[in-house]
């Protein structure tokens, strides 16, 4: 809720000209979400500290609140996008690089120290990665979560001090752009003009910043279209090249193998059960061998993303007829799942509690009963090859189980027998001699 900027270059009071705020006065500005006050805590020839005190009105804060978490909220206390907006409002002239009275000061680099008592960040590394390349000496002092409960560990907050020699205009621009990047939350809607704002305030430093992509993504809150719009400004055509060179991920490989296998089985109609954001669907739609493709997912949000990625709204009628997306659950019998040649469950079953697999088995193998069912799931034995994965952990927070090759084979055999399918189980992905492949695939056929 407070940002202080200290200059120690004589005469330090020049800071007042640069910030367009007279050190002798207190300046107050009303903002839509509260009030900003600028005052000087120290004013001398040697040292001058300007403070931007931001008071956020609780009324604004709970506008649109839905969950309890929104009411018990750190926003009034931390430096976030609210602070950015305040900087823009009260230091707008300085931010734009103007100084009518003393234009010669604008481009003057001077030793400056910015202090923010509470910023929220995933970890101190992020702060250094973002600020160090811009020439800052970063001091991020971690704050404990609750001093009466030391066992609770550290809080996500840091006392941040940034020291540098730069122009006031640069420091303000950096803070303006980077505070919401660190905090990763914005209190307002991100529209197309946000890209222009980023480019304007990032001029001269963002293009060459090694963490440019991270900054852009976080600033634009990971909106895919806005991010690519912004990155194109920096990269032009080279972006697609980079796409090509990017190593093929495990999931892409999985999807591609499942797609090939479905084709080889001669399936004309396929339903992707647990389609997520539609990666397999896209692969299948690109192949004329499949007349009809359906995607089901339990998450409505995932389906919206899938529709967006598949560009469903821009398809012509003929293309549109080949694809169908709907919300459903593998734990409920569903007539819409019937009548497909094949069903795919790619990395889905491990997200279900084991006791509930029985319901899924009946829904898929007994009621939907496609001619072929392809099921993939992680191979637990392979986990030792992931260096970052602690031994007793699973690959994903939401995984309810991970099976060894033997466990998966047992399940596949039992399921096939119970429902009258034949089944083959095979490794999926690059094979390690002792631990097998990262994933495993069972192909069930009637």
């Amino acid at each position: 809720m407070i940002l202080s900027l200290t200059s120690k270059v004589r005469p330090a009071t020049d800071l007042g000209f640069l910030l367009h705020k007279n050190p002798a006065n207190t300046h107050r500005a009303e903002l839509s979400f509260g009030a900003a006050t600028v005052f000087y805590s120290e004013v001398s020839e040697e040292k001058c500290t300007a403070c931007l005190l931001l008071e956020i009105s609780p009324v604004e804060l709970v506008r649109g609140a839905r969950q309890l978490e929104d009411y018990v909220n750190d926003r009034p206390y931390v430096a976030s996008s609210y602070m950015s907006v305040a900087i823009g409002r009260v230091f707008g002239t300085a931010l734009a690089g103007n100084c009518a009275k003393r234009p010669e000061l604008v481009d003057l680099k001077m030793p400056l120290t910015a202090r923010l008592p509470v910023v929220r960040a995933r970890g101190p590394e992020l702060l250094t990665r973002i600020f160090e390349p811009l020439g800052y000496v970063v001091t991020a002092e971690p704050i404990p979560l609750d001093e009466t409960n030391p066992a609770w560990g550290l809080s996500p907050y840091f006392r941040l001090t940034l020291e540098t020699t730069a122009t006031v205009h640069d420091v303000l621009s950096h803070l303006y752009v980077l505070l919401p990047v660190i905090d990763e939350e914005k209190h307002y809607f991100i529209g197309a003009d946000e890209v222009a704002k980023l480019l304007r305030h990032g001029e001269g430093w963002l293009a060459t910043h090694p963490e440019r992509e991270l900054i852009v993504k976080r600033y634009l809150r990971r909106s895919a279209s806005l991010v690519s719009q912004a990155l194109e400004q920096f990269e032009g055509e080279s972006n697609t090249e980079k796409e090509l060179e990017r190593p093929i991920t495990l999931h892409t490989e999985r999807v591609s193998i499942v797609g090939e296998r479905l084709r080889a089985l001669g399936a004309k109609s396929v339903i992707d059960l647990g389609c997520g954001e539609g990666k397999l669907l896209r692969r299948l739609l690109a192949d004329r061998a499949f007349d009809r493709v359906a995607g089901m997912d339990v998450s409505h949000r995932s389906l919206e993303l899938a529709a967006e990625r598949l560009r469903l709204d821009r398809m012509n009628d003929r293309q549109r007829e080949r694809i169908q997306l709907f919300q459903g659950s593998l734990l409920y019998r569903d007539k819409r799942l019937e009548g497909f040649d094949a069903a795919a469950l790619v990395e889905v079953i491990e997200h279900m509690d084991v006791p509930r697999l029985a319901a899924m088995e009946r829904v898929v193998f007994e009621f939907a009963r496609p001619r072929h069912v392809l099921v993939t799931t992680p191979n637990k034995e392979y986990n030792v090859l992931f260096p970052a994965l602690p031994p007793d952990r699973m690959r994903h927070n939401d995984h309810r189980f991970e099976w060894t090759r033997a466990e998966f084979a047992t399940w596949a055999d039992r399921t096939a027998t119970r429902f009258g399918y034949r089944v083959t189980v095979e490794p999926l992905g690059p094979l390690h001699e002792t631990h097998g492949a990262p994933s495993q695939l069972a192909v069930f056929s009637l």
């Binding site: 750190d74 206390y77 008592p117 409920y332």
Partner: protein
């Protein structure tokens, strides 16, 4: 005056040439909404009622509405010329498809009159040749109408005075509401039938006069209960004629109904001289019939032939048919309905014994009416989706079973011996007991019928959210028999410095004419529902679970309370042993219980929330405000508030390292076998659970006081004591679990939360004067309505579970409750 009888549900085709007065006739004798006129639909699709080029589209529209009306069992009159066979054929098809009669009413007006009438109507200038042609077509048609499939044909002249009489369908016994004893396939097992009737309380008496061949054996129930036989009286068994006599005499006496079974129908055909294959026990019937003279054989045949294929009783809530009946056929009449009633639905295939493979229609049955049937012998009477198969194969050495209605109890007497060998082994119809839920039963906009609040509407967008939560995070639905309702706070207090104070809660109950209430200490924990069975076997039997668990503990949104299964089973074991020590299994004659509880500490479930939200915000606030506290006194005050807030959340946290660190405070004993304890007072719940809690240190009895709302001072004082020590507050409930006031249901509970606790709900700085003032203006209407609907759904779910309704019916309520939870309500209430 001529009376024309029209079945209460029929497709009535008006037949007559243009200008014959059909429309006038129809309007005079039927409701405007019952008439679908081709002219009208021409107008609808083309703005011109006479535009013949629009006829195709007009009839498409007309047939669409015809189908909708017939689905809803609405008599419908089709007002078109219908003089051509092709036009009528379509109407016959619709009547067949929707299993009702087609009726033709021919308005036979002389050609001359039709000409004259058309001439006076400016929109009917199509020349005399059209009328002439229509007239000729009509003349050719009239004599064929019955053969075409019209069950009744009435020819009326324009000058006739007509009265239309609507006749109820023969199978319509909706006014007969029971009680009934529905009896399974007798197959000549007269000895077992006598025994069953006696067991059911029927008394035998002799008629004054015996009538050939029916004898004088009469049975009637002293309380006027009536028997309903599901058919197949004959064949296979030891005393076939006796069985028929008993049934016939009871029917004669008004003490029974009987529907036809396939064997009964086949015997009629044999009696009437059809050449038939003598198998499946027909020979036994023939042997007995040998003793009858020709006249008696005719009487026997005409009695069996008089049996209807099904009945609808009790306002449509009970349907009896030999082999069962789909919902869309209830109360309908058609060859298709009769076939279904007699033989059930077959897949068209035959099995290795040459018997038709039966399609399990009951698995898909979703109807409101209870369907009771026989036909397919099963080892035990079997409920499935509100249908009951009560053919327990008496003649095959099983038992003769009756279903008492409305009690829904089975009463069986075992067969004295095996009278016939079944062709195929008797086994349960399908292992499917409805345990795989169907998506169609939960998604979309739904109306859940509840006893307490009539229909509860579940909006589609809320179902969408609930499906994800239910599928990804919830406990196995077999265990989810109840979700607790949300609880509204009392109205905002007018006292300075208080947002909530008990006075307003007492005032609420006084306003609703609830004089006596109970104040229960609100524990600082999380709501938990504990379902406990006596053992794994009871769990499997009663809940249909196969995971080996003895019970579960889940949160108010149906999620497992404990991340690890062994914590859950540990807690369940503690509750089990407390129930054993308290002797509850015997006292309640139940091997399962459902308890509504609070589980402490709050930090056990909410650890993540506390760390990531409460502690973090507290720390951020303290760090930021310490920085500026010196600047203005206001900031120092705010810093003080943040520190108080931190004290508040810290109180609800204690480290949990093992199961022993948890405390469970049950406050409602919701249900046990056969009973939902919402008919008891909250005092009973408190005292009963106090006895339970005494048996395990981990269980906590809830402190409470009983209060007269006119003298609440002591209770207010108690609340002040509780909350001044940082307590969460108290819950005020009417003495009756389900309390009604002059305006209907009263809130089952109101909470009144303490000042300190509210800090963590309304935010660190909520007690600052300006903030408090703003918070006072809070609307409780939405929250209270939600609480009431969730309460109704919760009780309904338990009642359905206790009355052994299928899983989907229980799940519907639980799912609905979960869906309601995603309605937008101020989460701070």
């Amino acid at each position: 005056m001529r009376r024309i009888e029209v079945p209460e549900l029929a497709v009535v085709a008006m037949v007559g040439v243009s200008g014959s007065g059909k429309s006038t006739f129809a309007r005079a004798h039927f409701k405007a909404t019952e008439i679908l006129s081709s002219d009208h639909y021409r107008g609808i699709v083309s703005d011109d009622e006479t535009d013949q080029s629009a006829s195709g589209d007009a009839f498409d529209a007309l047939y669409f509405f015809l189908g909708k009306r017939l689905t809803r069992a609405k008599l419908t009159v089709v007002d078109a010329t219908n003089v051509r066979f092709e036009d009528r054929k379509k109407l016959i098809e619709y009547a067949r498809k929707f299993h009702c009669f087609a009726v033709a009413i021919v308005v036979d007006a002389p050609e001359r009159i039709c000409h004259e009438r058309n001439a006076t109507r400016p929109d009917r200038q199509f020349g005399p040749q059209v009328i002439h042609r229509q007239h000729a077509e009509l003349r050719r048609s009239i004599r064929n109408l019955e053969r075409e499939g019209f069950r009744y044909v009435h020819i009326v002249k324009p000058e006739d005075e007509i009265e239309i009489v609507r006749t109820p369908s023969w199978n319509n016994k909706r006014h007969a509401s029971g009680p009934f004893d529905i009896i399974g396939d007798v197959h000549g097992c007269a000895p077992e039938l006598r025994q069953l009737l006696a067991t059911l309380g029927y008394e035998r008496s002799a008629a004054a006069q015996a009538e050939s061949p029916w004898g004088d054996e009469f049975w009637r129930h002293p309380e006027g209960r009536r028997a309903v036989f599901v058919g197949d009286l004959v064949d296979r068994g030891p005393a076939i004629l006796d069985a028929v006599r008993i049934v016939r005499n009871m029917m004669r006496d008004g003490a029974a109904f009987c529907v036809a079974g396939n064997h009964d129908v086949k015997l009629v055909r044999w009696l009437r001289g059809k050449k038939l294959q003598i198998k499946h026990g027909l020979q036994r019937s023939i042997d007995e019939i040998e003793t009858l003279d020709a006249a008696d054989r005719v009487r026997l045949a005409s009695f069996l032939d008089s049996l209807l294929s099904h009945y609808v009783f009790d306002g449509g809530k009970l349907v009896v048919a030999h082999a069962g009946l789909r919902e869309e056929m209830h109360g309908r009449t058609s060859g298709g309905v009769r076939e279904f009633c007699l033989y059930g639905e077959t897949t068209g295939e035959t099995d290795e014994f040459g018997l038709p493979v039966r399609y399990n229609w009951a698995a898909e049955y979703r109807g409101r009416a209870t369907v009771v049937y026989g036909h397919t012998p099963v080892p035990e009477p079997q409920w499935l989706n509100n249908t009951a198969n009560i053919d327990t194969g008496a003649v095959f050495g099983g038992a003769l079973t009756a279903l008492r209605y409305p009690e829904r109890e089975f009463v069986s007497v075992p067969a004295a011996r095996v009278y016939a060998e079944p062709v195929r082994a008797i086994k349960p119809i399908e292992p499917d007991r409805g345990d795989v839920l169907d998506l169609a039963d939960v998604t979309g906009k739904r109306f859940v019928e509840t006893r307490l609040a009539r229909n509860v509407t579940i909006r589609e967008e809320n179902s969408i959210d609930a499906l994800e939560v239910m599928s990804r995070f919830a406990t196995d639905p077999h265990w989810l028999i109840y979700l607790p309702p949300t609880m509204s706070p009392c109205e905002t207090s007018t006292r300075p410095d208080y947002l909530e104070y008990p006075t307003e809660a007492f005032e609420y109950f006084r306003r609703n004419e609830v004089r006596r209430v109970i104040c229960e200490e609100k524990h600082m924990g999380s709501r938990a529902v504990v379902v406990v069975c006596r053992d794994a076997d009871a769990a499997r039997r009663r809940f249909g679970v196969i995971d080996g668990k003895h019970g579960v503990c889940y949160t108010r949104t149906g999620r497992p309370f404990f991340p690890a299964d062994n914590d859950e089973s540990g807690l369940v074991a503690r509750v089990q042993s407390a129930l054993t020590k308290a002797g509850f299994w015997e006292e309640f004659q139940s091997d399962w219980f459902c308890l509504d509880c609070e589980l402490m500490p709050w930090s056990a479930k909410a650890r993540e929330l506390i760390l990531q939200q409460y502690a973090a915000v507290g720390e951020a606030g303290e760090a930021a405000l310490s920085e500026v506290a010196g600047l203005r006194p206001e900031f120092a005050r705010r810093l003080q508030l943040v520190r108080q807030y931190r004290e508040a959340y810290r109180r609800y946290c204690w480290p949990v390292t093992s199961l022993d660190d948890y405390k469970l405070a049950p406050f409602h004993l919701l249900a046990s076998e056969g009973r939902v304890h919402v008919d008891k007072t909250n005092l009973w719940h408190m005292e009963t659970l106090r006895r339970l809690a005494a048996n395990d240190p981990q269980l906590t009895a809830t402190r409470y006081v009983e209060v007269d709302v006119d003298a609440p001072e002591a209770a207010c004082k108690w609340w002040e004591e509780l909350t001044s020590q940082g307590g969460e507050g108290m819950v005020i409930k009417p003495l009756e679990f389900i309390a009604k006031g002059p305006k209907g249901l009263v809130q089952p509970a109101l909470k009144c939360r303490g000042r300190e606790y509210l800090r963590i709900i309304y935010g660190p700085e909520c007690t600052a004067e300006d903030q408090l003032e703003r918070l006072r203006a809070r609307a409780l209407g939405g929250k209270r309505s939600l609480a009431m609907r969730e309460f109704a759904l919760g009780v309904e779910a338990l009642e359905r579970f206790v009355s052994k309704e299928p899983l989907r019916r229980v799940h519907e309520c639980v799912f609905g409750g979960l869906a309601l939870e995603s309605e937008a309500v101020d989460p701070r209430l």
